[in-house]
């Protein structure tokens, strides 16, 4: 809470108690209709039930929490103020920070590489890790738009859906394979990105966000209702699984993965293969995006994020640059969708709701917009936490929401915020060294 504290005045105990009491009073007012009272279904009619102990606990928690939080906040601010006088903002430690994240990134990659070997017979671990990697890939894809180009896309699940449905339809109707469908579905998703972006990119940031949200809903509603194409809410089932250079992963005598390599069939082969497949796709995404960031187009994205008008003045074609970001991000989302469809074997519009977009956005925002490693860390947290327990899964979205607010207040750039340009023109001579 943004309390303005002057350096001279430290509030007395009475003031603190009064402040906490007013917070508790607000909490009481907020809590009465939601926590204190609820309606339960009893024999077809609603009946009001009360939960006063819960409400009392909530109010007490708010009172105590406010007292402690305010005290801690004041101490922290005092400390920070004295620190700020001695230290300027561009700290020399940013270089060391870069080295650290670099090592951490390689560490993550190495552990991802060896994970299936360490847990070779634990199907659950590898499956969960595959889910994490799907979100990592989606996060990296969305990061291009949100983190680099600074455009808020609230309909990312639409591109994910386009990719997934493209593969599902191509595979079930025309018998296409995974590798044939991957580029086509990616291109199709990119086409949808252009379709969305071309008319709307002139809009300012928040309008664009709402339009993307509407676009996401349009795609979902069409998928639900256009039964001839998408089989409606029932979804598409028995989607073929990806093969290892044409060798399927199923028991049998003819050319399968197991028989070709002369090993005994195991259902784990496919799980491991899918894991390495998404790892490869995700790493490809990572390398692709990191490379793009160093090209003129990537630098233009970051420049537009910082100041669009300046970019126009410098002669950058803003619309084209934004469109490219949207299309590339959509393509990556589509590719992730292809993998999702191939892995699940079944897709329905249920998987592509606004919640899905919100989760991917939360991953990008919490991890630090523009930070590749941040996406990995937040995907790990957001996917693994609900796995810890059913109770927790109920509170997952609630905590997402709260975390999005708190992180925006605490660090508007995300946990691993790095708003520095990817490339710095270091060849510039320093002051006093001019020839």
């Amino acid at each position: 809470m943004g309390v303005v504290v002057s350096a001279q005045h430290t509030p007395s105990l009475a003031e603190r108690l009064k402040d906490a009491a007013s917070v508790a009073f607000i909490a009481l007012l907020l809590g009465i209709p939601m926590l204190g009272l609820t309606t339960v279904d009893q024999g077809g009619a609603l009946r009001v039930a009360t939960r006063w102990p819960v409400l009392a606990a909530f109010v007490a928690l708010c009172f105590a929490g406010r007292l402690i939080a305010r005290y801690a906040f004041e101490r922290w601010q005092l400390g920070r103020r004295s620190q700020e006088r001695t230290k300027n903002r561009a700290t020399p430690s940013s270089r060391r920070y870069g080295v650290l994240t670099n090592w951490l990134g390689w560490g993550c990659f190495a552990s991802a590489l060896f994970l299936p070997i360490l847990f070779s017979d634990n199907r659950y671990v590898v499956d969960t890790a595959t889910t994490v990697l799907i979100y990592v890939m989606l996060g990296w894809g969305l990061n291009v738009v949100v983190g680099l180009a600074g455009l808020l896309n609230l309909g990312y699940a639409a591109f994910y859906a386009v990719g997934a449905y493209a593969y599902a339809l191509l595979a079930t109707q025309f018998g296409w394979g995974f590798w044939q469908a991957l580029p086509v579905a990616g291109a199709l998703a990119a086409g949808f990105g252009l379709l969305l972006g071309w008319p709307t990119l002139r809009l300012r940031g928040d309008y664009l966000a709402i339009v993307t949200l509407g676009f996401g809903e349009i795609v979902r509603v069409v998928l639900v209702n256009w039964t001839d194409l998408s089989n409606g809410p029932n979804g598409i089932a028995s989607i073929p699984r990806p093969t290892f250079f044409g060798l399927p992963f199923k028991p049998g005598d003819e050319a399968t993965f197991a028989s070709f390599f002369g090993i005994e069939f195991s259902p784990l082969h496919r799980i491991h293969f899918l894991y390495y497949l998404i790892l490869a796709l995700a790493m490809l995404t990572n390398v692709f995006v990191s490379r793009l960031r160093k090209l003129p187009i990537g630098r233009a994205w970051e420049a537009i994020r910082e100041d669009e008008i300046a970019c126009k003045a410098l002669g950058i074609n803003v619309t084209q640059v934004k469109l490219s970001a949207l299309a590339i991000s959509a393509m990556l989302g589509g590719a992730a969708g292809v993998f999702f469809a191939a892995r699940q074997g079944f897709i329905s519009p249920e998987s592509f709701t606004f919640n899905e977009s919100a989760i991917v956005l939360a991953i990008v925002v919490l991890g630090g917009t523009g930070s590749q490693l941040g996406v990995v860390l937040s995907s790990l947290v957001l996917v693994l936490l609900p796995e810890l327990g059913r109770d927790f899964a109920d509170y997952r979205m609630l905590l997402f929401g709260a975390a999005m607010i708190l992180i925006m207040i605490w660090r508007p750039g995300g946990i691993l915020a790095k708003r520095e340009p990817t490339l710095r023109y270091s060849a510039l001579p320093r002051d006093g060294e001019r020839p």
């Binding site: 609603l46 808020l152 940031g205 966000a209 349009i218 508007p412």
Partner: protein, 304 residues
């Protein structure tokens, strides 16, 4: 013909509700230039308070319908305005002066938070209440099709018109309204003139929440079912209405709401009902493409 008249009535009812919610969007956008993404969920919270209120009143044996509606309106408006205040205080005020996207992301966070909070505390099931205001009268019959005007529809339109009158008075004539308009034009200058800008913004949020609360109660009376997800779609539609009418313009919000309501009602009657949301969202995209300042809005000049 009769069907058209019926859909006109239905569309006006729906449009009045959208308009009430759209005013909240447009006022907040006018004063701090951000989309209050959680506004639709404020409306949803109020609908839940209304369900609890009506159930509680019928448990206490209050049988007078006008009394029940008035009591629930007052209670719901009071509690919901606290929600509006708290949302602004916790999620938006700390971010004032931050980047443009930061408050939007925290607004989305707030929306997700409110939805799940209600889902956890009130249950994920659809809540039906027994009809509060039953009956109506038949306006006319053409070719065997009777045009029906329900009392609840009359209630919605009348309450909306009355609120619009009060609201126009508040904004145009009272001291708060002048402060609010001043903040809209220039916040720094307003602060220099000794007006508490933060308080004005808080009041604006509360006022918007109050109107959304009225909409929530009226919709509960009209449809009789509530679930935790209603705020999302209605919120986007109301926002579309605000953009359509010209964001920042109060009469525009109402006009946009009514137009959206009519478009939706006629779309459902004559075209594909299952694509009615697609129609609204496509309209939003079209309006933003060809007339971003809306029907009654002022064109916005981007400053460096």
């Amino acid at each position: 013909m009769a069907l058209a008249l019926q859909q006109l009535i239905n569309g006006l009812t729906l449009g009045a509700v959208y308009g009430l919610i759209a005013i909240g969007y447009t006022m907040v956008y006018g004063i701090i230039g951000m989309i209050n993404f959680a506004h639709g969920d404020i409306y949803m919270v109020s609908a839940f308070i209304a369900v609890t209120g009506f159930t509680l009143l019928s448990a206490f044996g209050v049988s007078s319908v006008p009394l029940a509606i008035i009591v629930v309106l007052v209670v719901s408006v009071a509690f919901t305005s606290v929600y509006g205040w708290a949302v602004e205080r916790t999620a938006y005020r700390p971010l004032r002066g931050s980047t443009r996207l930061a408050p939007l992301i925290s607004a989305i966070g707030m929306s997700i938070f409110l939805q799940n909070m209600v889902q956890l505390t009130q249950g994920a099931r659809v809540k039906p209440i027994p009809p509060v205001l039953v009956g109506g009268f038949d306006v006319l019959t053409i070719d065997g099709f009777t045009v029906h005007l329900a009392y609840s529809q009359m209630l919605i339109v009348l309450v909306t018109v009355a609120l619009m009158l009060v609201f126009t008075f508040v904004i145009n004539r009272t001291s708060f309204g002048r402060q609010q308009r001043a903040c809209e034009q220039d916040r720094t200058m307003t602060a220099l003139l000794g007006i508490n800008v933060d308080r004005t913004i808080s009041f604006t949020f509360m006022l918007g929440a109050m109107l959304a609360a009225v909409a929530g109660v009226l919709v509960t009376v009209y449809y009789g079912v509530v679930d935790f997800y209603i705020g999302f779609v209605v919120g986007i539609k109301a926002f579309t209405a605000a953009v359509f009418g010209g964001i920042g313009s109060l009469p525009g919000a109402m006009l946009g709401g009514v137009l959206i309501g009519l478009i939706e009602a006629f779309w459902v009657a004559y075209l594909a009902p299952e694509y009615k949301d697609v129609a609204t969202f496509s309209l939003l995209i079209l309006v933003l493409m060809f007339r971003p300042s809306g029907l009654l809005g002022r064109p916005e000049v981007e400053k460096v």
